[in-house]
Amino acid sequence: MNAPLSRRQFFRVCSAGVMASSAVGLGLAPGQAVAEVRPYKLARTTETRGTCPYCSVSCGVVMYSREEQGKRKIIHIEGDPDNPVNKGTLCPKGAGLLDMVHSPNRLLQPEIREAGSSEWKTISWDDALSKVARLMKKDRDANFIEKNAEGVTVNRWNSTAFIVSSAVSNEAGYLGVKMARGLGMVALDTQARI
């Protein structure tokens, strides 16, 4: 056996139990393999700064992503040493963030559960949003209160409630509040209260 192995063959040989050093010693190792190490995990990734979504310390995080099948996929998350509050540390919750992003329980498609049904049915976004808009208008038109019993203009719609997430950005939350008030909604709340 005096022809040098290809890199692929070399690693296969190693994994079968032959010591790398003895393989090298026998002259079987390809020229490059001796100097190769495991590829750097963060090679060819894009670095992005973010904020941990859990408690309100709001630790800074650095997230690393790369393109996979036309989408940016996050492959690593760690604490941001530049953040003056957490200085690069993360707690057990923050340390598990990658598993949250890639949880098998992530919702991927709009779905509907019809009255009385025991399962979800996938529908399109257009379908789902059309239905939602129609449900909202129907209830608002049926139950909107223009004046109270004393004749005071109240313009409220109190038969649909809206609970806004305390985990969304200020921009999304503000839009939610603006929309809700614009529609006349009053039964509004968020996790902040509880």
Partner: protein, 802 residues
């Protein structure tokens, strides 16, 4: 937080009570250990459990769940009796000298003005006495029997160390030791901070828990000081931000009061919200209400909001009821609520009394869920064995579930517990067909609007005229929304002194000081104003420089209001404007203006006004009207292991006399004969609410539900560590493994032994972790009278081996 995370390292004494910072806020907790290491600061913990925070504390004292006001009232008594107060601060920066009117009384657990049927007070009975000059009368000698100081002395004299021990179960010596340590910060050169969380808020007396501590901090002169303050450690990515955007019924963004049915016209509405100065020279900044409210309406209605139509006042819905989430749940049960839009919230898991939630959701005609993850609430109709015993064919609710992005896939701002607004960027693309919340809301609104445009319908005006002129109305961009929130001016604004243009016409304002009530400015949230100025997006700043080395980091993000890092920082200086403690600088008066290492919380050239610029008096309120009184008083949790209130013998004053009791729960609170054990709920360091049971690594490190009980209770029930136990009351029943531990002590309270069962909340029947019963099967449907926060942390249960 009135102060901020890094500032905690500036403290001499750190009290952790009503919270468990080491376990719930581990990365923020490093500032406690920094203070201990570098300033030799001491850490004191008062908690029903010997937590990991307690494990590294200098001193720990146990306390019965729900008795914190008695403990803190005992501290107030100790400070006042021994004169351990910062006298100059109390006299000049609090309302200790104010004279209270003669209608004020307190007797046997109730204040004057109580209406038993309405369960509320006529607060006019507690009004101050007004002088002929139109201001509140004061006695600066603090001797008048009706001055706040003397009324407080009398009120708190009942909270003797013996009484504290009786009510709280805390050994008297432990209480005295802690009171002494806290008292040591009454001198200008020593400062204490308090770190609290849901251990204080989630009680029917939650607001008063916190208020009592604020009173202590005022007596000690610790407000507005580096290393001082009252620091709420909050939770959720953006709970502070969404609180500020005011996604709840009583307020509009920036804490502007919502109109109610009583506000029959715009004039009435404004007048009721513009306070009158109670003392001369008070800034009374809240008097600028109309500038902020008009600017908000211009942001929402643009040119459709004019002086002639009272800036679209009639378009705002008026409230006639509280409409908080518990009230909404009741109306779901009664059938008044037909639909629910539920965004990033898991009410079935997170709200008290799961059985009631199940009944509520079942009654809905429709439910729209927007979430990145599966939740119990979205699947409330799916049977999951004994954990969710339902029959889908009985449940007629149409549920539409829309997948949203998570934090890593969206850009925008989160506001942390210390009011710092920080921009974050999207690192990844949404999985599957998930969409950003801004796009989901943009689509929802524009589609509803299109239906109204095409078909007409009930009062379409406020919908058709709502300002939604984003670059893409179906998907507003984060930056343009933040710019709207921060505010702009139609007209050019110039500096009155230099005549330089500071804001071009149509440009972003510098801050809320530039907002006007004439319709020429628009601003979505006045307290955020200035975060996106002509200089750019200040929330995205990442400059860590820290002149003064106090941790203020003025150029990292944007801290509301106006980038002030320590609130009330003028109180960090004496009446002459010199810092109380030069080794801990803040701002000082240089003869013409305030300056230093923070943005002054005071008009810069005003050295006459009191430091608390948002109050009409300019001073901190020791005596202040809240739902259950002008001063705090101990009331038992609604499910009390004592069956009585040791502070009085008034059947109307056992528990909070002002807390709302829904008809559906009246008379149903657990009694000690059937449910002898106190219970509380709390968080584990490895989990975040009901969210992380969907996360593999967190599910691995904390996979299974458990409850914690003390060794005496375990022995009495024959329960060994690891045994399966059942914990139940009239509302529900859970099963979990028992952890038998010394860290939940049995307490001697009012002549009886009180045991406590501790219940971590994180488990449920949807997720990767082992399935468990929702902890909120057991919690009571009653809340604080001011905040309407449910009493999750003090109730009664029974327990047995399963």
């Amino acid at each position: 937080m009135t102060n901020h995370w890094v500032d905690i390292r500036n403290a001499d004494l750190i009290l952790v009570m009503g919270g468990n910072a080491a376990e719930a806020h581990p990365c923020g907790f490093k500032w406690v250990t920094e203070a201990m290491e570098h300033r030799k600061a001491r850490l004191v913990v008062v908690d029903p459990r010997f937590t990991r925070t307690a494990a590294i504390a200098d001193f720990f004292a146990p306390i019965r769940v729900g008795s914190d006001i008695a403990f803190l009232g005992g501290v107030v008594n100790y400070l006042m009796t021994k004169g351990k107060i910062h006298k100059e601060y109390v006299l000049n920066y609090t309302n200790a000298a104010f004279i209270v009117g003669d209608k004020y009384k307190f007797e046997n657990g109730l204040f004057s003005g109580y209406d038993e049927d309405k369960r509320s007070y006529d607060r006019s009975q507690w009004a101050f006495e007004m002088g002929p000059d139109g201001f509140v009368k004061v006695d600066n000698t603090l001797q008048d029997p009706r001055c706040v100081y003397q009324i407080m002395r009398k009120h708190f004299s009942r909270y003797t160390p013996e009484k504290v021990s009786e009510v709280c179960g805390t050994p008297k010596e432990s209480f005295l030791k802690i009171a002494e340590m806290m008292a040591s910060t009454c001198t200008p050169d020593r400062v204490m901070t308090i770190l609290y969380a849901l251990g204080w808020t989630q009680h029917s007396v939650g607001s008063e828990n916190i208020r009592t501590m604020a009173m202590i901090q005022l007596l000690l002169g610790n407000m507005g000081r580096a290393g001082g303050g009252v620091n709420a450690l909050r939770g959720h990515a953006n709970v502070q931000g969404i609180t500020d955007q005011c996604a709840y019924a009583q307020v509009l963004p920036g804490y502007l009061g919502s109109p109610t049915d009583k506000d029959v016209n715009y004039e009435t509405y404004v007048k009721a919200r513009v306070p009158k100065e109670l003392r001369p020279n008070s800034v009374n900044y809240a008097k600028n209400f109309q500038k902020f409210q008009v600017s908000l309406m211009k942001a929402w209605y643009g040119d459709a909001a004019t002086k002639e139509n009272d800036f679209a006042y009639d378009y705002l819905p008026k409230i006639d009821q509280p409409y908080d989430i518990m009230h909404t749940v009741e109306r779901m049960v009664s059938g008044e609520i037909k639909g629910l839009i539920c965004q990033g919230f898991n009410p079935m898991a997170a709200l008290p009394n799961k059985a009631k939630l199940a009944a509520a959701l079942k009654n809905l005609d429709f439910m729209v869920v927007i979430d990145p993850l599966r939740t119990e609430s979205a699947e409330f109709w799916k049977p999951v064995g004994e954990f969710n015993n339902v029959n889908p064919s009985d449940i007629k609710t149409t549920v539409i579930r829309l997948p949203s992005t998570c934090f890593a896939e969206d850009e925008g701002t989160f506001t942390n517990s210390s009011r710092v607004i920080q921009w974050h960027w999207a690192a990844g693309d949404a999985p599957g067909e998930a969409r950003k919340d801004r796009q989901i809301f943009g689509e929802m609104f524009t589609r509803v609007r299109a239906l109204y445009k095409a078909e007409g319908g009930k009062f379409a005006d406020p919908i058709l005229k709502l300002n939604w002129a984003y670059t893409n109305p179906r998907f507003p961009a984060a930056e343009e929304v933040l710019k709207e929130i921060s505010g702009r001016s139609k007209a050019e604004l110039t500096d009155p002194a230099t005549k330089e243009v500071v804001v071009p016409a149509g440009g972003q304002v510098v801050g809320f000081g530039q907002l006007k009530d004439d319709g020429s400015t628009s601003c979505g949230n006045w307290i955020y104003s200035g975060c996106f100025s002509e200089k750019g997006n200040l929330t995205a700043r990442r400059d860590k420089t820290d002149p003064g080395n106090m941790g203020n980091n003025l150029n990292w993000g944007f801290s509301w209001p106006a980038n002030r890092r320590v609130l009330y920082n003028r109180a960090g200086a004496d009446m002459h404007g010199k810092a109380w403690d030069k080794t801990r600088p803040g701002i000082e008066w240089d003869g013409t203006k305030w300056s230093g290492i923070d943005v002054p919380d005071m008009p810069p050239t005003n050295n006459q006004a009191g430091p608390f610029i948002m109050t009409p008096s300019g001073v901190g309120n020791l005596f202040a009207a809240m739902a259950e009184g002008p001063l705090p008083e101990h009331y038992e949790p609604f499910e009390t292991p004592l069956g009585r209130n040791p502070m009085n013998n008034n059947p109307l004053a056992v528990s909070n006399p002002a807390s709302r009791i829904f008809k559906s729960v009246k008379g149903s609170f657990g009694q000690k004969d059937k449910y002898p054990y106190a219970a509380t709920t709390y968080r584990l360091t490895e989990h975040f609410h009901f969210w992380t049971k969907n996360v593999e690594s967190n599910a691995i490190v904390q996979p299974s539900p458990f409850v914690e009980i003390g060794v005496e209770l375990a022995k009495a029930k024959g329960i060994k560590n690891g045994d399966s136990v059942r914990v139940w009351n009239d509302r529900g029943s859970i099963k979990a493994a028992a952890v038998v531990t010394k860290r939940i002590p049995q307490l001697n309270v009012a002549g009886q032994k009180v045991e406590t069962v501790g219940i971590p909340i994180h488990f449920g029947f949807v997720g990767l972790a082992n399935k468990g019963f929702l902890a909120n099967e057991l919690t009571p449907f009653v809340a604080d009278a001011n905040s309407l926060t449910p009493e999750f942390k003090a109730f009664l249960v029974n327990i047995e081996k399963a």
